[in-house]
Amino acid sequence: MDLENPRAEPDNFVIRFANVNGSGSASSNALIARCIFRMGHTIGAKNMFPSNIQGFPTWYEIRVSSQGYTARRGGVDLMVAMNGQTILKDAEDLEKGGVLIYDSTRPIAERLRRQDVLWLDLPLTELARRHFPDSRQRTLLQNMICTGVLCRLLRLDETLLRELISGQYRSKSALLPVNIKAFELGCRYAAEHFKCLPFYVTSSGSGERLGEDAPLLMNGNTAMALGALFAGATVCGWYPITPSTSLIDAFSDFCQRYRTDHDSGEKKYAIIQAEDEIAAIGMVLGASWMGARAFTATSGPGISLMCEFLGYGYYAEIPAVIFNIQRCGPSTGMPTRNQQADLLICAYASHGDSKHIMIFPAGPDECFEFARKAFDWAERYQTPVFVMSDLDAGMNDAISPPLKAASFAPDRGKVLGMQELEQLQGPFLRYADPDGDGIPYRTLPGVHQKGSYFTRGSGHDRAGRYTEDGALYQENMRRIAAKFKTAARELPEPLFPLSHESASSVIISYGSGSEAVKEAIDLLKADGIYLNHMRIRAFPFSARVRDFCLTQDRCLVLDLNRDGQMACLLRNEFPELAPLLIPLCLWDGLPVQAEQLVRDIRTLMPGAL
């Protein structure tokens, strides 16, 4: 049988691992991804896992691309089908001419096999049983045998892979020899039984990547935790929720390493697991009010619970940083699936007129930078700031330039210290606008009697005194609106990663949705469809967002939600854009595939064909 898959070629292909969750496959799959990355290639790695601890199907996809694409392409060239329950369905997802490896200890009958793909029989359970007496270790070792097989099939750098395996078992070195044995067994079995595949990883990548400027492979949650560390954040109140928990775990690890006094054991931080998200945001507001840099990380259900306090933060003007790692759906939804569906609730969270700053980072380096700067913005504008990430950006490793910053000096905003208060003539006016930018001056408790004021969510005048006077209420609320205008001028501007002189339409994206856009634009270009690309990075929007849109015939707004929430915000804030905006919604909960995006753009722009 002569099978051909024209889509897969050396350094350009897609592997998907189909596993049972809880079987320890995730770490060995990640090893393969890191090995290809270290060999100098561009990869994208996406973990598509269930909301379950053990026994459900789970998938892990690695994209290798010589053009530098990292999003999912669409389709699969090599299926490592290790979940007996899903094997036939997994086979269906393969490209024609694709390759499937499966555990042939329980063989699949010839008549059930898809005929236009290559089946590689690997008696994995049998091999493990024969070579490893300890039955408890066998499932885990099967993963390592499989890693050995793939090393040979894909011509991975064996020395490097061994080194990575050793690294993984650094803290459990007793387990290393048996894992290496399993790995070697896999390599040997493949050499003896399988021919090399037509697609593989060449050694012609950019070579070993270890220099100072070499890229990283990191997930967004880790990058954001580092952002909080390098912002000098000391108080964190949180409540566990996927997919934000790993951000707190990472912050906790970094604090143990870099914020603990090695002699006294004293902690220069407080991470408090709250009783719920209401308490978590309450803690953040209390700590920020007291003058520490404080944050929480959560996801949709947590945001819903926080709403009353968010309105308080807006109106009483207290800094707070909220990392919202969005997930799929209303209510519990699909907790381990991806969406960007909290834009509307975060933009206007809480009752009454209120509005909040949202920052949309894309890629680990920007996750780091924006997480760090979010503390500056929260203190500068004295208001809650949402850093809007999502499950895909937060939990999946992505290639990124090294994390760096021109300066780590924090901007603590307008705070009157001891000396200024000492010299203050007249009463301290907490909610006045002496600089004409809408931003008042604040004071911290415990510094000076003259700075004291009554922080309240009830109607207040410029001195923070209770009022039910409509005119005073309006004066204060108008000032807050002006403060948000100032913020809109100073927050990160949109970026224009791609523009083409013959393009008169733009695709607008933000956050993780942006990853597939470049590839989609390149694919469409081949068909003679030209598109510009604008990536929005902050809300309230910069005037540049509107100005640029007005130069375009059509603005396709890529949203990972059903209702086109970004398009809705743009319409709401800039009504004049309404006729130009075309929602482009991808919302099945999985990371965007470039080819799907292309199909959707084609249907939305039939005239362009």
Partner: protein
Amino acid sequence: MLSIEKPKIASVLQRKNELGLSPEDYGGAPSTLCGGCGHDSVTAAIISACFELSIPPENVAKMSGIGCSSKTPAYFLRGAHAFNAVHGRMPSVTTGACAANRDMYYLAVSGDGDTASIGLGQFIHALRRRLNMLYLIENNGIYGLTKGQFSALADAGSRNKQGGMNPFTGIDPVRLAMTLGASFVARGFSGDKEQLIPLIKAGLLHKGFALIDVLSPCVSFNNHADSSRSYDYIRKHEREVNSQVSEDFVPSREEIFLLPEEQKKALRTACLHDGSSVRMRAYPESCYEPDDKQAAFRFLDDCQKEGSIPTGLIYKEAETEDFHDMCGTSQTALRDLPMDGLIPSPETLRHINQQFR
């Protein structure tokens, strides 16, 4: 808007404390509560206690939720910052503030509805975490600000102004606090300043979570004849334990407690962490050491059986650990740590980068 000027709460006496401040310096804005409201008496007791302890007002953080009671921080210590949080959520805000700055006096005022109805969850978790704070419940058995609905602290069987009966079990905040980690638990009565002021003083200086459940009648909605939170009812049913004599609070620097010998014998001493102590008059019929939790529970049971309301210092743990001891937080307040010591160096970042290649 109409509002009636009320006489200032603060004593007009021109006494001065160690800081050279007068009671008036511990006052606040004029109260806007109903004339005769128990909460105003608690405000007055707080002013006296802080004045007598010579606490610098700016070293106090006044924390409260929502309700008539939670408004009162506006009426005392104008030189202190206040955080009037959302309804029932003051404990979480205090947790964050306390985590950020261990060097303040956290003086929290809440209502029975704010604490035990909407806020029961947060209240319990603050207890468990042993925050170093004084938590005053101004307990009138009902929601004053929303006009008289029963709170979760209302006694079962008590009647509201319209004659409606509360069929549900009332939560006892004293027992709850003793069970969950409060290391200082007392009950006071807004109508008994002599007892309340020393309790507040001791509670403020106490390290760890100090709770005072202050019975504080609502004259507008819960002071009728068949209410168990009326002035009359409390006066008739109160049973004191471990109540302090008036000059009972002995700062560490005072070496000798000047009292006749026979009176001294009748006093029990509870030591505070800074070396000072509170002395209490021991009532023969309810005599137990305040750190004896079992005896305290027995006393509460006795009172319940006879239908009396126990007041005074009911329980005080001998040695206490607070939130920061349990967490191992730095001795310097987190918010006072210089930023350049908190932010790792660019060199460290390069090192971290390397771990992700």
